[in-house]
């Protein structure tokens, strides 16, 4: 069997093969395959899996969160690799988590872990672009330029292949523009066209003044006056009847009506009104930009938004500021800032989605642009460096099998030991989960037909 599997590693059958291995109880030996500990019986491989997610909440941790210090703990590894943190048991037998993620660990049986994600971009912006689009950049250029030749954000492709929901944008992204020296590509619709750009804002949901000026009518314009203005537009538009003549004019008119609808009605504006939320729930999410952004994500999904991207921070950060780039003081930063914040917010989001009956329909993705080096000792001797060669991506909701573990890293967490997965496959998985053909074709600026993803969906982690 093992020989057969090796031979087929390069073929499409490789996952099937390893899954069979795991069914035969060899999972432990091979260190790979799909581990469904904590689940009744593993589904038979032939069972057709159904896409059931209606929305995605994409939580992106810029800077690159350490996989070894969170979900892919290596308690038996040598000192310089294991790190300072102890592991604690989680709701999934045999899958310990970091001692600073107790709440997340307690609900780990809601999550699927993909522990063998890897790529070859060592710099933040190219890696970030890869993680936001599933498309490998041509070069590992530290200041990769954001041009229309590059691939669109996941949400933009989703918008392209979805029916719009009236009154709300399909794709909303906030509250940061990711940049490391230069704006990281992959945050907008690129060559798909502006109509698929995210509805984007930088306003801080944690601020008392949170609001979007273009969604707030000025004090001296009430609904009656807005209505009067619209009446005047209709009067003028009637004169040359351009709306009848041109699809562009028709489109302008429809979008104008949508804008006025957003301005004058509930829907998006209500979703953005965090003040109407129970203060206790707001506290539970955490009174941080990230916490309130995640609460907002749930509200947006509830209002019909299909794809919500929450960026953890605007810069890679590290050293106690903003992001996850823990070259220095890795353990201090994780312990004091990053993990407590994540452990407060992310499990609350899952619970909140569930209590609103949204979890089955909503795929939650938690990841960064890469992991961190197994070897401790970067820069100040207490940090971990960039590590795209192996890291973990977390998924919950939207039909994901809780407790599933797909792929595995080697003993040091350095390279995939089984079932290597690329960002392409992550992209394919989220399109698949939404019922969008992962290989749906789009046309780039050169007129080339390209698939939105060249990967294969990891449908095995879904029911």
């Amino acid at each position: 069997m093992a020989k057969g599997c090796l031979e087929f590693q390069r073929s499409i059958h490789r996952r099937q093969c390893l899954l069979q291995a795991s069914q035969f109880g060899l999972a432990g030996l091979l260190g790979g395959g799909l581990n469904l500990a904590g689940i009744g019986s593993p589904p038979s491989d032939s069972k057709p899996r159904k896409a059931r997610a209606k929305s995605v909440i994409f939580l992106h941790q810029y800077g690159g969160p350490s996989h070894i210090d969170t979900f892919d703990m290596k308690p038996d590894a040598p000192d310089g690799i294991r790190g300072e943190f102890k592991s604690i048991s989680s709701a999934v037998a045999g899958s310990p988590v970091c001692e600073y993620l107790p709440r997340w660990g307690a609900q780990l049986d809601r999550w699927a872990q993909i522990r063998s994600v890897h790529h070859d971009m060592k710099n933040h912006n190219p890696a970030c672009y890869y993680s936001l689009t599933g498309k490998r950049p041509a070069t590992d250029d530290i200041r990769l330029r954001d041009t229309l030749e590059l691939f669109p954000a996941y949400g933009s492709s989703v918008a392209k292949f979805s029916e719009p929901v009236p009154g709300v944008p399909t794709f909303v992204a906030y509250p940061h523009v990711l940049r490391d020296g230069a704006i990281a590509p992959g945050q907008h619709a690129s060559f798909l066209g502006k109509q698929y750009d995210p509805y984007f804002f930088q306003s801080d949901p944690n601020s008392a003044e949170f609001g979007l000026p273009e969604l707030q009518l000025p004090a001296n314009i009430d609904l009656a006056r807005l209505h009067r203005r619209r009446g005047l537009v209709e009067l003028i538009d009637l004169e040359k009847r351009l709306i009848e003549q041109s699809s562009d004019a028709r489109g302008l008119d429809q979008l104008q009506q949508q804008a006025l609808k957003i301005l004058s009605s509930t829907g998006l504006k209500d979703a953005l009104d965090l003040g109407s939320e129970d203060p206790a729930l707001r506290d539970a999410y955490g009174r941080s930009t990230y916490g309130q952004s995640c609460l907002l994500a749930r509200r947006l999904v509830q209002s019909g938004v299909r794809f919500v991207t929450v960026y953890f921070s605007q810069s890679i950060g590290g050293k106690g500021s903003e992001g996850w780039d823990t070259h220095q003081e890795n353990f201090k930063d994780l312990r004091e800032r990053l993990l407590p914040m994540s452990d407060q917010t992310v499990p609350t989001l899952i619970e909140d989605l569930e209590s609103h009956g949204l979890l089955d329909d909503t795929l939650v993705l938690w990841m960064g642009e890469f992991g961190r080096s197994p070897q401790v000792g970067d820069r100040d001797g207490k940090g971990r460096g960039h590590w795209p060669d192996c890291y973990t991506v977390m998924m919950a909701g939207g039909g994901v099998q809780g407790g599933a573990i797909y792929g595995a890293s080697d003993a040091k967490g350095a390279y995939p030991a089984s079932d290597p997965v690329g960002p392409e496959d992550i992209a394919a998985t989220l399109y698949w989960a939404l019922g969008i053909d992962p290989h749906a074709e789009v046309i780039d600026t050169q007129g080339r037909p390209l698939a939105i993803s060249t990967g294969d969906p990891i449908d095995k982690i879904f029911y």
């Binding site: 073929s11 499409i12 890897h118 490998r136 041509a138 530290i142 200041r143 330029r145 954001d146 041009t147 229309l148 020296g181 230069a182 060559f191 066209g193 502006k194 109509q195 750009d197 509805y199 000026p213 273009e214 969604l215 707030q216 000025p218 006056r225 009067r228 203005r229 005047l232 537009v233 009067l235 003028i236 538009d237 009637l238 004169e239 040359k240 009847r241 351009l242 003549q245 041109s246 699809s247 562009d248 004019a249 302008l252 979008l255 104008q256 804008a259 957003i262 301005l263 290597p420 392409e424 290989h439 074709e441 600026t445 050169q446 007129g447 080339r448 037909p449 698939a451 060249t454 990967g455």
Partner: protein, 938 residues
């Protein structure tokens, strides 16, 4: 073209180890590294590292053999290769119902039975395809040579005979004759029958096994580009799983393709097809990597045709000429691809069925040969009589006379085509529409109320000419074109520095203002060296920083062709080869750039260059590594590489002229007597005034993307030469045509009609571009927007049309699609509409502030109205204020209805406080800015 024979090298390929190196070299070197834009790279290293020098050389030689010759198609000669529908009929003088056989010389053989197209051509040149009709009968003068069966001439014996088609009509029968050659076939050859089958059946498309990663573990070269590679994949890889020497019919390649075994790609051909038989024969004969004479030319019959309304079937025949002189009907062996994505079905036998009226081209690919055929399925001309807005009282009525007496040659050409296509010509635009269009299209601003009124009052027959001349002399014209060229050459602040961007912008503006011949200054732009501050045109190589980018950019900007695909493999939809790509790129390999005062804030950002840069050429020999040939190649112009022989050393490289730089040679090749250069410029100038190219998109000249009106493009290109490459004179010619003055009319949603705008039978409606839009808002409200570009000198301009670089921060302009100048593609400027734009227009900060700003135009109006209310008769009345607001925003007076409604709101307030008056005016101003009429250019 001389014939070539291809050495057999089966021996060389017979050892698996050698081939595995080929695999390695091809797989990793070719595509993974060079073409990773097309797909992702191998995920895990294979750890196969071995000395490859010798093998690389060997590979290069083999590839050189295999890169099959193409017709020598110098870009200069082949540019305006689209043909008009009228050519089909060859003569408007023909009697109604004449019969026409295509091709006139047929070639048939057992494997390649000749098909034929028979057209019944009417007096207007439009035709009905009668090929499949029962009224059509055939006879051969020597019936023992061939017989006609199921639409094909079946070969019986070799020889030549005359054949006659007879078509029975109620009025009697008509006939036509053709010549039929019957030949015998040579044995099946891998690189002819097998490769063409894979391509024709779509097996090796980018979406299937031609993908960088293949499909289902089976990978082929993209569109059969690389027979060696494909031979390895088919015959060697995986032992002999894909072909079965013992039982050929059990070969995977056959069982999968016929869907006898589960195949995700479905059934590609059937067991009774000639393709199945050919592959079966090939395996049966030992599955050798055998070779056949290469294709020297490919021709599609008819080159173009117009099919009479009500008929929705057309046929085409593809004939290939081989290096040994043989000609075969390869319709059934070609890949046929329509230029339109939907509404049409193209069958393997060359039958095209359209669902509705359309104008399309069918690209034919057979091995290395490419050709295209244009088919117009005419619309229902009777619908034109009641179409559009002609039935109402609206402006823009249609003209059904196809007046051939137009004075202007462009108008005549367009009228002729409209008549042939039976589409209605829109009437003249009304005066208000015209003057607004003229201002926006030439100087990017709205006419002032005074200018509009002056134009409206002018009754002179020379009125348009006078206004056109005035606007061509307006500085706004120079700025509009300086902006366009700044977009195209990527004049952006980061790499250029703000000062550099301003200097280049100013230099471009000067060239336009002095109307220096385009050919001259473009030649200077692509050959200048030195300090970009002292010699701004040297900036072209500051923004295009590597040889390959410079090649791609100059081809796209100055020739309108996209060659990027040919970087990694021969272009799948065009005739460009890797030879073309690297020959062009070689020109730019000795460029050197020296920074004088480069202090980027971010030392890691190599895309930012501050201060001056000095561009120079090194003494090295200009050459570049051609990965396909694995050798260094020197400079050559696109399409000028001769590939009749497989010896790469025989390519004609441009020899550097003594005393001239390689860039000067490039400039001469590019700009002197280069018809593609002329056609591209003419098309881009036309695009500026119509928002749509004759070739559309304007930077995508391709055989399979022909000009919508080839004569018109030819006329413009010829005119440009005749006018000495004067932008202003060619612009005047275009702007003075009745075509530019046609109304914008309704797009018909009736599929039985052809659209009008691609043929310029009406003026294309479109959204205003970002810069004229913000400038117009500033003008109408009386509140200019200070626009900052760049970091260094914080220069502020108050007109977006005059901004040298790009905005420092995203904002209104980027929301509305101003390009960041990171690409040379016209597509970087977005004309799309979005929700963000609507929110910006309805409730955005800019609009809000400008409407509410104290001291804006509304303040003046309020003052006037209050004076008027107090009896000051020199002050503006409510009617006058409303009229001026309409004139300023929409270049027309309000209609009675608009005036009445506005007065009803305004009059009750004029006696009350200023605030109440202002509220009414603010609402009207907001409504004017948000009207579709304001936001659109029509």
């Amino acid at each position: 073209m001389e014939s070539t024979t291809r050495p057999v090298f089966a021996l060389g390929l017979s050892t698996v180890s050698f081939v595995s190196y080929l695999d390695h070299l091809l797989g990793s070197c070719f595509c993974s590294r060079l073409c990773n834009r097309l797909g992702r790279t191998a995920r895990l290293n294979t750890h196969r590292r071995a000395p490859r020098l010798f093998l690389g050389l060997l590979l290069g030689l083999l590839l050189a053999w295999w890169l099959v010759p193409m017709a020598s198609c110098d870009v200069r000669g082949a540019t305006l290769s689209g043909t008009t529908p009228s050519e089909t009929s060859e003569g408007r003088g023909e009697q109604a119902g004449s019969l026409k056989i295509l091709p006139e010389i047929l070639h048939t053989s057992e494997r390649y039975p000749a098909q034929v197209v028979v057209l019944l051509v009417g007096s207007d040149g439009a035709a009905i395809d009668v090929t499949g009709q029962v009224q059509l009968t055939w006879e051969a003068q020597e019936p023992e040579l061939a017989r006609f069966e199921a639409g094909r001439w079946i070969a019986l014996r070799t020889g030549t005979t005359q054949i006659t088609a007879r078509y029975e009509q109620p009025s009697g029968s008509i006939a036509a004759q053709a010549t039929l050659h019957i030949a015998s076939d040579s044995p099946v050859a891998f690189d002819r029958e097998v490769i063409s089958t894979l391509t024709r059946s779509g097996c090796n498309l980018g979406t299937c096994h031609g993908n960088l990663h293949g499909k289902g573990g089976f990978r082929l070269s993209l569109r059969g580009d690389d027979p060696i590679f494909d031979y390895y994949r088919l015959a060697v890889e995986f032992g002999q799983r894909r072909i079965d020497a013992f039982d050929p019919s059990k070969s995977l390649i056959l069982t999968k393709a016929t869907a006898a075994q589960a195949h995700q790609g479905g059934k590609r051909f059937s067991e009774d097809s000639p393709h199945y038989k050919a592959i079966l024969d090939w395996i049966d004969q030992g599955a050798m990597p055998s070779s056949a004479p290469s294709v020297t030319s490919l021709e599609v019959f008819p080159a173009s045709q117009r099919i009479v309304q009500g008929n929705r079937i057309a046929r085409i025949i593809v004939q290939a000429r081989f290096a040994d002189g043989a000609v075969r009907d390869v319709t059934n062996w070609s890949r046929l691809e329509p230029s339109l994505p939907s509404g049409v079905e193209v069958r393997g036998d060359g039958t095209i069925e359209a669902e509705h009226a359309m104008d399309l081209s069918i690209g034919a690919t057979y091995l290395d040969g490419r050709s295209a055929s244009r088919i117009v399925f005419l619309g229902d001309s009777s619908l034109n009589q009641v179409s559009g807005l002609a039935q109402g009282s609206l402006p823009g009525e249609t003209d059904h006379t196809y007046d051939h007496t137009y004075n202007h040659p462009y108008d005549r050409t367009i009228a002729e085509q409209s008549e042939q296509l039976q589409i209605a010509l829109a009437d003249r635009a009304d005066d208000g529409m015209f003057i607004r269009r003229l201002f926006l299209a030439t100087v990017g601003r709205l006419p002032s109320p005074e200018e509009t009124l002056e134009y409206l009052a002018d009754r002179s027959p020379m009125r348009n000419d006078r206004w056109i001349d005035q606007l061509l002399a307006d500085p706004g014209f120079d700025y509009a074109w300086a902006m366009r060229w700044s977009d195209l050459v990527r004049n952006e602040d980061k790499v250029m520095s703000s000062r550099g961007a301003s200097l280049l912008h100013e230099w471009l503006r000067e060239q336009i203002a002095s109307d220096r011949p385009l050919q001259e200054w473009i030649g200077q732009l692509v050959s200048s060296l030195g300090s970009t501050y002292e010699n701004p045109p040297a900036s072209f190589y500051r923004t295009h920083r590597d040889a390959e980018i410079a090649a791609e950019s100059s081809a796209q900007v100055f020739l309108g062709v996209r060659i990027a695909c040919a970087k990694c493999h021969n272009h799948p939809f065009d005739r460009w080869k890797q030879d073309d790509y690297y020959g062009l790129a070689a020109h730019f390999t000795t460029l050197e750039r020296k920074q004088i005062d480069n202090k980027p804030k971010d030392a890691l950002d190599k895309h930012v260059i501050t201060g001056d840069e000095v561009i120079s050429l090194s003494d090295k020999k200009p050459q570049i590594k051609h990965p396909g040939r694995s050798k260094m190649v020197g400079p050559s112009g696109l399409g000028s590489v001769h590939t009749q022989t497989r010896d790469a050393s025989a390519t004609q490289e441009l020899e550097p002229q003594p005393g001239r730089t390689v860039l000067q040679d490039f400039a001469s090749w590019l700009t002197l007597d280069n018809r593609q250069f002329d056609a591209n410029l003419a098309n881009r100038i036309w695009y500026q005034y119509f928002g749509r190219g004759i070739v559309e998109p304007p930077d995508d000249f391709r055989e399979s993307n022909p000009p919508s009106n080839p004569e018109l493009l030819e006329q413009l290109a010829t005119d440009m030469r005749a006018e000495g490459y004067s932008l202003k004179r060619l612009s005047r010619n275009i702007l003075a045509s009745s075509t530019f003055a046609r109304a914008s009319i309704a797009e018909s949603s009736d599929e039985n009609l052809l659209p009008t705008t691609p043929y310029f039978a009406s003026y294309p409606l479109r959204r205003l571009a970002a810069e004229p839009l913000i400038d117009a808002i500033s003008e109408v409200t009386g509140v200019p927007s200070p626009l900052r570009t760049g970091d260094e000198d914080h220069s502020t301009v108050y007109s977006a049309m005059r901004m040298p670089g790009i905005p420092k921060k995203p904002g209104f302009l980027t929301t509305f699609g101003k390009p960041n100048r990171l690409l040379v593609c016209e597509c970087e400027r977005s004309s799309q509409i979005s929700l963000g734009q609507s929110l910006a227009m309805t409730n955005g900060v800019e609009i809000r502030d400008k409407i509410a700003a104290p001291g804006n135009r509304l303040d003046g109006y309020v003052q006037q109205l209050q004076l008027h209310a107090k009896g000051d008769s020199s002050a503006m009345s409510p009617e006058q204020v409303i009229e001026e607001m309409f004139l300023r925003a929409l270049s027309r007076k309000p209609s009675q209805r608009e005036l009445r409604s506005s007065l009803d709101a305004l009059e009750p307030t004029v006696d009350s406080d200023r605030a109440a008056v202002r509220v009414v005016l603010e609402d009207l101003l907001w409504a004017l800015l948000n009207s579709k009429e304001f936001m659109m250019l029509r």
